[in-house]
Symmetry: C2
Subunit: 214 residues, 2 copies
Protein backbone atom coordinates (compact mmCIF):
# COMPACT_ATOMS: atom_id res chain seq x y z
CA UNK A 1 0.00 0.00 0.00
CA UNK A 2 1.50 3.33 -1.01
CA UNK A 3 0.88 6.24 1.31
CA UNK A 4 0.90 9.84 0.22
CA UNK A 5 -1.77 9.54 -2.45
CA UNK A 6 -3.97 12.59 -3.06
CA UNK A 7 -6.49 11.71 -0.34
CA UNK A 8 -9.73 13.72 -0.02
CA UNK A 9 -7.58 15.82 2.30
CA UNK A 10 -10.15 17.29 4.68
CA UNK A 11 -8.50 20.28 6.32
CA UNK A 12 -9.06 21.47 9.89
CA UNK A 13 -12.62 22.03 11.09
CA UNK A 14 -14.11 25.32 9.91
CA UNK A 15 -13.86 27.97 12.59
CA UNK A 16 -10.65 26.70 14.17
CA UNK A 17 -8.08 28.64 12.15
CA UNK A 18 -9.65 32.09 12.50
CA UNK A 19 -11.85 31.80 15.55
CA UNK A 20 -11.80 35.51 16.34
CA UNK A 21 -14.02 38.40 15.29
CA UNK A 22 -16.77 37.45 12.90
CA UNK A 23 -16.51 33.70 13.43
CA UNK A 24 -17.02 34.06 17.16
CA UNK A 25 -19.87 36.50 16.60
CA UNK A 26 -21.57 34.04 14.24
CA UNK A 27 -21.22 31.18 16.68
CA UNK A 28 -22.67 33.23 19.51
CA UNK A 29 -25.60 34.44 17.39
CA UNK A 30 -26.41 30.93 16.18
CA UNK A 31 -26.26 29.36 19.64
CA UNK A 32 -28.39 32.20 20.99
CA UNK A 33 -30.98 31.71 18.26
CA UNK A 34 -30.99 27.93 18.68
CA UNK A 35 -31.56 28.35 22.41
CA UNK A 36 -34.42 30.72 21.70
CA UNK A 37 -36.13 28.27 19.38
CA UNK A 38 -35.71 25.45 21.90
CA UNK A 39 -37.17 27.51 24.72
CA UNK A 40 -40.05 28.84 22.62
CA UNK A 41 -41.04 25.93 20.42
CA UNK A 42 -39.10 22.89 21.53
CA UNK A 43 -36.87 20.39 19.81
CA UNK A 44 -39.43 19.47 17.16
CA UNK A 45 -39.25 22.89 15.53
CA UNK A 46 -35.47 23.19 15.64
CA UNK A 47 -34.74 23.73 11.95
CA UNK A 48 -31.29 24.84 10.78
CA UNK A 49 -32.74 27.19 8.18
CA UNK A 50 -34.94 28.83 10.77
CA UNK A 51 -32.03 29.19 13.18
CA UNK A 52 -29.95 30.82 10.45
CA UNK A 53 -32.69 33.33 9.70
CA UNK A 54 -33.12 34.23 13.38
CA UNK A 55 -29.38 34.56 13.88
CA UNK A 56 -29.15 36.78 10.77
CA UNK A 57 -26.54 34.43 9.43
CA UNK A 58 -26.19 32.66 6.11
CA UNK A 59 -27.93 29.32 5.87
CA UNK A 60 -24.82 27.87 4.25
CA UNK A 61 -22.74 28.85 7.25
CA UNK A 62 -24.92 26.98 9.70
CA UNK A 63 -24.88 23.86 7.54
CA UNK A 64 -21.13 24.06 7.08
CA UNK A 65 -20.27 24.62 10.76
CA UNK A 66 -22.84 22.33 12.37
CA UNK A 67 -24.55 20.33 9.67
CA UNK A 68 -27.22 18.64 11.76
CA UNK A 69 -29.60 19.54 14.56
CA UNK A 70 -27.98 17.05 16.89
CA UNK A 71 -24.54 18.58 16.35
CA UNK A 72 -25.93 22.03 17.06
CA UNK A 73 -27.60 20.81 20.23
CA UNK A 74 -24.37 19.11 21.29
CA UNK A 75 -22.49 22.37 20.79
CA UNK A 76 -25.14 24.16 22.83
CA UNK A 77 -24.50 21.70 25.65
CA UNK A 78 -20.76 22.25 25.32
CA UNK A 79 -21.34 25.99 25.59
CA UNK A 80 -23.47 25.58 28.69
CA UNK A 81 -20.98 23.23 30.31
CA UNK A 82 -18.45 26.05 30.39
CA UNK A 83 -20.58 28.07 32.78
CA UNK A 84 -20.48 25.56 35.61
CA UNK A 85 -21.59 26.76 39.01
CA UNK A 86 -19.23 25.99 41.89
CA UNK A 87 -20.19 23.39 44.45
CA UNK A 88 -21.40 24.77 47.76
CA UNK A 89 -20.26 23.17 51.02
CA UNK A 90 -22.65 23.08 53.95
CA UNK A 91 -20.84 20.79 56.36
CA UNK A 92 -23.33 17.92 56.26
CA UNK A 93 -24.05 15.29 53.62
CA UNK A 94 -27.75 16.08 53.56
CA UNK A 95 -27.04 19.78 53.22
CA UNK A 96 -24.63 19.25 50.34
CA UNK A 97 -26.90 16.84 48.52
CA UNK A 98 -29.82 19.19 48.97
CA UNK A 99 -27.80 22.02 47.48
CA UNK A 100 -27.00 19.80 44.53
CA UNK A 101 -30.61 18.66 44.14
CA UNK A 102 -31.90 22.21 44.19
CA UNK A 103 -29.32 23.24 41.61
CA UNK A 104 -30.44 20.45 39.31
CA UNK A 105 -34.09 21.26 39.93
CA UNK A 106 -33.54 24.94 39.14
CA UNK A 107 -31.65 24.03 35.98
CA UNK A 108 -34.30 21.64 34.71
CA UNK A 109 -37.15 24.08 35.34
CA UNK A 110 -35.28 27.02 33.84
CA UNK A 111 -37.05 28.35 30.74
CA UNK A 112 -33.93 28.07 28.61
CA UNK A 113 -31.95 25.25 30.16
CA UNK A 114 -34.86 22.88 30.78
CA UNK A 115 -35.89 22.49 27.14
CA UNK A 116 -32.23 22.29 26.20
CA UNK A 117 -31.62 19.33 28.48
CA UNK A 118 -34.69 17.55 27.18
CA UNK A 119 -33.47 18.16 23.66
CA UNK A 120 -29.97 16.93 24.36
CA UNK A 121 -31.26 13.76 25.96
CA UNK A 122 -33.54 13.15 23.01
CA UNK A 123 -30.77 13.85 20.53
CA UNK A 124 -28.42 11.52 22.41
CA UNK A 125 -30.80 8.60 21.90
CA UNK A 126 -30.29 8.72 18.16
CA UNK A 127 -26.86 10.22 17.60
CA UNK A 128 -23.74 8.57 19.00
CA UNK A 129 -21.62 11.73 19.01
CA UNK A 130 -24.22 13.66 20.96
CA UNK A 131 -24.57 10.75 23.35
CA UNK A 132 -20.84 10.80 23.98
CA UNK A 133 -20.87 14.54 24.64
CA UNK A 134 -23.78 14.08 27.02
CA UNK A 135 -22.06 11.27 28.90
CA UNK A 136 -18.89 13.31 29.31
CA UNK A 137 -20.95 16.25 30.54
CA UNK A 138 -22.57 14.20 33.29
CA UNK A 139 -19.35 12.43 34.22
CA UNK A 140 -17.79 15.83 34.76
CA UNK A 141 -20.68 17.20 36.75
CA UNK A 142 -20.89 14.12 38.94
CA UNK A 143 -17.14 14.21 39.55
CA UNK A 144 -17.44 17.85 40.65
CA UNK A 145 -19.86 16.93 43.40
CA UNK A 146 -18.51 13.55 44.43
CA UNK A 147 -16.02 15.01 46.96
CA UNK A 148 -18.86 15.94 49.30
CA UNK A 149 -19.60 12.25 49.76
CA UNK A 150 -15.92 11.59 50.38
CA UNK A 151 -15.99 14.25 53.11
CA UNK A 152 -19.10 12.68 54.62
CA UNK A 153 -17.26 9.38 54.76
CA UNK A 154 -14.37 11.08 56.55
CA UNK A 155 -16.86 12.48 59.05
CA UNK A 156 -18.29 9.00 59.52
CA UNK A 157 -21.70 9.89 58.12
CA UNK A 158 -21.59 7.09 55.57
CA UNK A 159 -19.63 3.83 55.26
CA UNK A 160 -15.99 4.23 54.28
CA UNK A 161 -16.24 2.41 50.94
CA UNK A 162 -19.30 4.26 49.69
CA UNK A 163 -19.37 4.85 45.92
CA UNK A 164 -19.44 8.66 45.85
CA UNK A 165 -20.38 8.98 42.19
CA UNK A 166 -23.29 6.64 42.65
CA UNK A 167 -24.66 8.78 45.48
CA UNK A 168 -24.49 11.94 43.40
CA UNK A 169 -26.25 10.18 40.53
CA UNK A 170 -28.90 8.98 42.94
CA UNK A 171 -29.76 12.59 43.72
CA UNK A 172 -30.33 13.59 40.10
CA UNK A 173 -31.99 10.38 38.96
CA UNK A 174 -35.47 10.94 40.43
CA UNK A 175 -35.53 14.49 39.09
CA UNK A 176 -34.70 13.48 35.55
CA UNK A 177 -37.04 10.51 35.75
CA UNK A 178 -39.88 12.78 36.75
CA UNK A 179 -38.97 15.34 34.10
CA UNK A 180 -39.16 12.73 31.36
CA UNK A 181 -41.91 10.34 32.41
CA UNK A 182 -44.39 12.58 34.17
CA UNK A 183 -46.21 15.82 33.53
CA UNK A 184 -46.07 16.88 37.17
CA UNK A 185 -43.78 19.92 37.36
CA UNK A 186 -40.52 19.61 39.27
CA UNK A 187 -40.71 21.62 42.47
CA UNK A 188 -38.31 22.26 45.31
CA UNK A 189 -40.05 19.63 47.45
CA UNK A 190 -39.14 17.00 44.87
CA UNK A 191 -35.53 18.15 45.00
CA UNK A 192 -35.42 17.98 48.78
CA UNK A 193 -37.01 14.53 48.75
CA UNK A 194 -34.43 13.30 46.25
CA UNK A 195 -31.61 14.61 48.42
CA UNK A 196 -33.03 13.10 51.57
CA UNK A 197 -33.62 9.72 49.95
CA UNK A 198 -30.09 9.59 48.60
CA UNK A 199 -28.64 10.59 51.95
CA UNK A 200 -30.72 8.00 53.80
CA UNK A 201 -29.77 5.24 51.37
CA UNK A 202 -26.11 6.22 51.57
CA UNK A 203 -26.17 6.17 55.35
CA UNK A 204 -27.78 2.73 55.24
CA UNK A 205 -24.89 1.50 53.10
CA UNK A 206 -26.82 0.97 49.87
CA UNK A 207 -23.97 2.43 47.82
CA UNK A 208 -20.97 0.56 49.25
CA UNK A 209 -18.72 -0.89 46.56
CA UNK A 210 -18.19 -4.61 45.91
CA UNK A 211 -21.56 -5.49 47.24
CA UNK A 212 -21.67 -8.87 48.94
CA UNK A 213 -25.14 -8.99 50.46
CA UNK A 214 -28.10 -11.08 49.39
Amino acid sequence: MSAGEPEPEQGPEPGTVRPGGRTARVRAAVLQAAGDVLAEQGFAHLDLGDVARRAQVGRTTVYRRWGTVTALVADLLQDMAEQSLPRTETGSLLGDLRANARLVQRTLTDARQGPLFKAVIAAATWDARTAEALHRFYDTRVAEWAPCVRQAADRGEVPEDTDAHEVIRAVSAPLYYRLLTSDVPLDRAAADRAAEAAAAAARAGAYVRHHKRT
Copy 2:
Protein backbone atom coordinates in the same frame (compact mmCIF):
# COMPACT_ATOMS: atom_id res chain seq x y z
CA MET B 1 -75.50 29.00 17.51
CA SER B 2 -76.95 26.69 14.89
CA ALA B 3 -75.66 23.14 14.91
CA GLY B 4 -75.77 20.82 11.94
CA GLU B 5 -73.86 22.97 9.48
CA PRO B 6 -71.85 21.11 6.84
CA GLU B 7 -68.65 20.90 8.92
CA PRO B 8 -65.47 19.45 7.38
CA GLU B 9 -66.99 16.23 8.67
CA GLN B 10 -63.94 14.11 9.49
CA GLY B 11 -65.21 10.56 9.83
CA PRO B 12 -63.97 7.98 12.33
CA GLU B 13 -60.27 7.16 12.48
CA PRO B 14 -59.17 4.80 9.70
CA GLY B 15 -58.99 1.23 10.94
CA THR B 16 -61.79 1.53 13.49
CA VAL B 17 -64.77 0.52 11.33
CA ARG B 18 -63.35 -2.64 9.82
CA PRO B 19 -60.58 -3.62 12.20
CA GLY B 20 -60.63 -7.31 11.28
CA GLY B 21 -58.74 -9.31 8.67
CA ARG B 22 -56.44 -7.28 6.49
CA THR B 23 -56.48 -4.16 8.66
CA ALA B 24 -55.28 -6.11 11.69
CA ARG B 25 -52.69 -7.90 9.58
CA VAL B 26 -51.36 -4.60 8.28
CA ARG B 27 -51.13 -3.12 11.76
CA ALA B 28 -49.26 -6.15 13.05
CA ALA B 29 -46.85 -6.15 10.12
CA VAL B 30 -46.12 -2.45 10.45
CA LEU B 31 -45.53 -2.57 14.20
CA GLN B 32 -43.32 -5.61 13.73
CA ALA B 33 -41.28 -3.85 11.05
CA ALA B 34 -41.03 -0.65 13.09
CA GLY B 35 -39.77 -2.63 16.06
CA ASP B 36 -37.21 -4.34 13.84
CA VAL B 37 -35.86 -1.04 12.54
CA LEU B 38 -35.70 0.36 16.06
CA ALA B 39 -33.80 -2.63 17.37
CA GLU B 40 -31.43 -2.80 14.41
CA GLN B 41 -30.75 0.82 13.55
CA GLY B 42 -32.29 2.97 16.23
CA PHE B 43 -34.68 5.87 16.24
CA ALA B 44 -32.66 7.98 13.81
CA HIS B 45 -33.30 5.59 10.93
CA LEU B 46 -36.99 5.12 11.63
CA ASP B 47 -38.44 6.24 8.30
CA LEU B 48 -42.08 5.61 7.45
CA GLY B 49 -41.27 4.70 3.86
CA ASP B 50 -38.70 2.18 4.98
CA VAL B 51 -41.11 0.67 7.50
CA ALA B 52 -43.74 0.32 4.79
CA ARG B 53 -41.31 -1.50 2.51
CA ARG B 54 -40.23 -3.89 5.26
CA ALA B 55 -43.81 -4.57 6.27
CA GLN B 56 -44.72 -5.21 2.60
CA VAL B 57 -47.41 -2.62 2.95
CA GLY B 58 -48.32 0.41 0.87
CA ARG B 59 -46.50 3.58 1.81
CA THR B 60 -49.76 5.47 1.61
CA THR B 61 -51.31 3.18 4.18
CA VAL B 62 -48.64 3.89 6.76
CA TYR B 63 -48.94 7.62 6.24
CA ARG B 64 -52.73 7.48 6.49
CA ARG B 65 -52.90 5.32 9.61
CA TRP B 66 -49.97 6.79 11.56
CA GLY B 67 -48.72 9.85 9.74
CA THR B 68 -45.64 10.57 11.81
CA VAL B 69 -42.77 8.66 13.36
CA THR B 70 -43.83 9.77 16.84
CA ALA B 71 -47.37 8.49 16.37
CA LEU B 72 -46.03 5.14 15.21
CA VAL B 73 -43.73 4.92 18.22
CA ALA B 74 -46.60 5.84 20.52
CA ASP B 75 -48.69 3.04 19.01
CA LEU B 76 -45.80 0.66 19.50
CA LEU B 77 -45.76 1.61 23.18
CA GLN B 78 -49.51 1.08 23.38
CA ASP B 79 -49.07 -2.37 21.87
CA MET B 80 -46.36 -3.25 24.35
CA ALA B 81 -48.38 -1.95 27.30
CA GLU B 82 -50.96 -4.64 26.63
CA GLN B 83 -48.50 -7.41 27.45
CA SER B 84 -47.93 -6.38 31.05
CA LEU B 85 -46.22 -8.90 33.30
CA PRO B 86 -47.92 -9.57 36.64
CA ARG B 87 -46.37 -8.33 39.83
CA THR B 88 -44.59 -10.95 41.88
CA GLU B 89 -44.99 -10.97 45.66
CA THR B 90 -42.07 -12.07 47.80
CA GLY B 91 -43.27 -11.15 51.28
CA SER B 92 -40.73 -8.40 51.95
CA LEU B 93 -40.42 -4.87 50.65
CA LEU B 94 -36.84 -5.37 49.52
CA GLY B 95 -37.77 -8.58 47.74
CA ASP B 96 -40.69 -6.95 45.93
CA LEU B 97 -38.69 -3.88 44.94
CA ARG B 98 -35.85 -6.05 43.73
CA ALA B 99 -38.25 -8.04 41.59
CA ASN B 100 -39.51 -4.79 40.13
CA ALA B 101 -36.00 -3.43 39.56
CA ARG B 102 -34.90 -6.60 37.82
CA LEU B 103 -37.98 -6.53 35.61
CA VAL B 104 -37.20 -2.96 34.58
CA GLN B 105 -33.55 -3.80 34.05
CA ARG B 106 -34.42 -6.78 31.87
CA THR B 107 -36.83 -4.67 29.86
CA LEU B 108 -34.37 -1.84 29.27
CA THR B 109 -31.59 -4.19 28.20
CA ASP B 110 -33.84 -6.26 25.97
CA ALA B 111 -32.78 -6.03 22.32
CA ARG B 112 -36.24 -4.97 21.17
CA GLN B 113 -37.75 -3.20 24.15
CA GLY B 114 -34.66 -1.22 25.17
CA PRO B 115 -34.35 0.75 21.93
CA LEU B 116 -38.11 1.19 21.92
CA PHE B 117 -38.12 2.84 25.32
CA LYS B 118 -35.28 5.12 24.36
CA ALA B 119 -37.18 6.07 21.23
CA VAL B 120 -40.43 6.70 23.08
CA ILE B 121 -38.72 8.91 25.62
CA ALA B 122 -37.01 10.86 22.86
CA ALA B 123 -40.26 11.20 20.91
CA ALA B 124 -42.07 12.35 24.02
CA THR B 125 -39.71 15.28 24.41
CA TRP B 126 -40.93 16.80 21.19
CA ASP B 127 -44.46 15.55 20.68
CA ALA B 128 -47.17 16.29 23.24
CA ARG B 129 -49.39 13.34 22.27
CA THR B 130 -46.56 10.86 22.63
CA ALA B 131 -45.62 12.44 25.94
CA GLU B 132 -49.17 11.96 27.20
CA ALA B 133 -49.16 8.31 26.13
CA LEU B 134 -45.84 7.81 27.86
CA HIS B 135 -47.02 9.44 31.07
CA ARG B 136 -50.14 7.30 31.16
CA PHE B 137 -48.02 4.21 30.55
CA TYR B 138 -45.81 4.93 33.54
CA ASP B 139 -48.69 5.97 35.77
CA THR B 140 -50.27 2.60 35.06
CA ARG B 141 -47.10 0.62 35.65
CA VAL B 142 -46.35 2.47 38.88
CA ALA B 143 -49.90 1.93 40.11
CA GLU B 144 -49.56 -1.80 39.44
CA TRP B 145 -46.60 -2.06 41.78
CA ALA B 146 -47.57 0.48 44.43
CA PRO B 147 -49.57 -2.07 46.50
CA CYS B 148 -46.38 -3.79 47.59
CA VAL B 149 -45.39 -0.65 49.45
CA ARG B 150 -48.85 -0.49 51.03
CA GLN B 151 -48.35 -4.06 52.23
CA ALA B 152 -44.95 -3.18 53.62
CA ALA B 153 -46.58 -0.35 55.57
CA ASP B 154 -49.13 -2.81 56.95
CA ARG B 155 -46.27 -5.04 58.05
CA GLY B 156 -44.62 -2.06 59.70
CA GLU B 157 -41.59 -2.09 57.43
CA VAL B 158 -42.06 1.54 56.42
CA PRO B 159 -43.91 4.51 57.96
CA GLU B 160 -47.68 4.41 57.64
CA ASP B 161 -48.00 7.51 55.45
CA THR B 162 -45.33 6.55 52.93
CA ASP B 163 -46.03 7.66 49.36
CA ALA B 164 -46.17 4.28 47.62
CA HIS B 165 -45.98 5.64 44.08
CA GLU B 166 -42.91 7.68 44.93
CA VAL B 167 -41.12 4.59 46.23
CA ILE B 168 -41.83 2.66 43.04
CA ARG B 169 -40.59 5.55 40.94
CA ALA B 170 -37.47 5.71 43.08
CA VAL B 171 -36.65 2.16 42.02
CA SER B 172 -36.84 2.86 38.29
CA ALA B 173 -35.29 6.32 38.36
CA PRO B 174 -31.61 5.33 38.72
CA LEU B 175 -31.98 2.72 36.00
CA TYR B 176 -33.44 5.14 33.48
CA TYR B 177 -30.97 7.82 34.50
CA ARG B 178 -28.10 5.48 33.82
CA LEU B 179 -29.63 4.29 30.56
CA LEU B 180 -29.85 7.84 29.25
CA THR B 181 -26.86 9.65 30.68
CA SER B 182 -24.18 6.98 30.76
CA ASP B 183 -22.67 4.43 28.43
CA VAL B 184 -22.15 1.87 31.19
CA PRO B 185 -24.50 -1.03 30.48
CA LEU B 186 -27.31 -1.74 32.92
CA ASP B 187 -26.58 -4.93 34.82
CA ARG B 188 -28.41 -6.85 37.51
CA ALA B 189 -26.16 -5.35 40.19
CA ALA B 190 -27.43 -1.90 39.25
CA ALA B 191 -30.99 -3.16 39.58
CA ASP B 192 -30.35 -4.65 42.99
CA ARG B 193 -28.63 -1.48 44.16
CA ALA B 194 -31.59 0.63 43.01
CA ALA B 195 -34.00 -1.62 44.89
CA GLU B 196 -31.92 -1.58 48.03
CA ALA B 197 -31.49 2.18 47.98
CA ALA B 198 -35.23 2.74 47.54
CA ALA B 199 -36.03 0.30 50.33
CA ALA B 200 -33.51 1.91 52.68
CA ALA B 201 -34.79 5.42 51.96
CA ALA B 202 -38.39 4.29 52.39
CA ARG B 203 -37.57 2.67 55.74
CA ALA B 204 -35.87 5.88 56.82
CA GLY B 205 -39.05 7.79 56.04
CA ALA B 206 -37.77 9.77 53.07
CA TYR B 207 -41.02 9.21 51.18
CA VAL B 208 -43.61 10.14 53.83
CA ARG B 209 -46.28 12.52 52.54
CA HIS B 210 -46.70 16.14 53.70
CA HIS B 211 -43.12 16.41 54.61
CA LYS B 212 -42.48 18.59 57.61
CA ARG B 213 -38.79 18.13 58.34
CA THR B 214 -35.94 20.56 57.77
